[in-house]
Amino acid sequence: MKALLFSPWTKRALFALCLVPACLLIARGFAGELSANPVEFIEHATGDWALRFLLITLAVTPLRKIFEQPLLTRFRRMLGLFAFFYTCVHLLMYLTFDQSFDMKAVVADVWKRPYITVGMAGFLLMTPLAVTSTAAMVRRLGPRRWQLLHRLIYFCTLAGVIHYYWLVKSDVREPLMYGGILALLMLYRVRLWVAKSGKSKPKPAVVSA
């Protein structure tokens, strides 16, 4: 297992796997299977994958702890960057085809429409994480500050879930499902933090009245 996780080929294979959704979209495009509204189709697909990759990235820590596989962390940066990649395509589709790069209209949209506001906020919070994802940046920031900064991913993902929830007209099952997964992943962390803080300072004895 260790050898497999350590192999450069595993990383390459995962990279290819992460590109599959994008390749499928391109293939569908050539086959004329992007529905009657291709722009919306691509926006929805890339939005879905951005959110899924955020959740997959957030699943790395729980998985590596539960299965005691610290090497899993090797893949976390790539997964996070793919979340950013799909987010960028998603945003670019919106800027190009929905707004024709009319920046005044974009600003008005961000200002007026809560689901756009929260979506854009999620993107803006993600950008520094992508920029500081290199090993050199970790060193420059120092691991403690770097980790603190990268906790922003919790808010990015929450923003993604809300962005989706506020967009749908009546059938909220999918955004709720993503919200539920995020809640589970966060609950796991809260449990870890509680356990940690419990260790460092002993709990006060419970006094019954």
Binding site: S35, A36, F97, R113, L167, K169
Partner: protein, 310 residues
Amino acid sequence: MLIRKPADLRYSDVTPRGVYYNRRRFLAAGSAVLGAWALPSPLGATMKINNVVKSAYTVDEKLTPKADITSYNNYYEFGTGKDEPVRYANTLRPSPWQVQVGGLVDKPKTFDLDAFMKIAPLEERIYRHRCVEAWSIVVPWIGFPLAALLKQVEPNSKAKFVAFQTLYDPKQMPLGNRAGIELPYVEGLRLDEAMHPLTLMAVGLYGETLPNQNGAPIRLVVPWKYGFKSIKSIVKITLTDKMPPTTWNLTNAREYGFYSNVNPAVDHPRWSQATERRLGELFKRKTLPFNGYADQVASLYTGMDLRKNY
């Protein structure tokens, strides 16, 4: 001339899609009428409509391809994804069908489909159709003015509104329970809107009967209102003196009003209505007041605050 040998023809070449997609029901229906002479009309399949006259109520715009009109639908009884109705609406049985017309009328009447199709000469009308979700299509509908139907039942002087109801049969619409909206789907118009010559009872599109996912066998088309007002698969029409409830208004009153006239100046609370994407075009185009029918219908609303009466 190429003459195909019999072996080159598959059964699917000579069988309407609806029949082989619904083989079991077709067999059951077939055995039910065993001994009778006539087989029921093919289930779920569209048929050519003859004797259609061209109408003056037509826009000179590029038609949206039939494949797009019939594969990108909002029909929540058959799934909430726009690609779902085309896949799941084959469980709808558009024949036999009855439409009950009653309420505040002097001559209430129940029409079966054949009688319904003969209420008035069928016309082809090319209308713009604008969804509240900011996409639009141009559709060659076949139908007749709703006014012709209403005249037959003779609304009395108390009638002020017309209420419409879609079929709701959980057996035919098993996905209805996850639609997130209350069913049966209901809609309504003010009587003067219903009597307007643009308001159409549609029975077909592109020269054929309506595909199930487009609201077979009969639907309303009100081209100056958002698409959800154009209620599908109608079983009941009732004249009333009170403004009838409408499904999307019941779902979210802040976002969907009774009138729901296409209006680029009044946004949906969550998104802009200033522009729309015509299916087949990449960039958005400007949305027109009353979807381009302002000359014909704006006078219906003189003196009304369209911001309040959204």
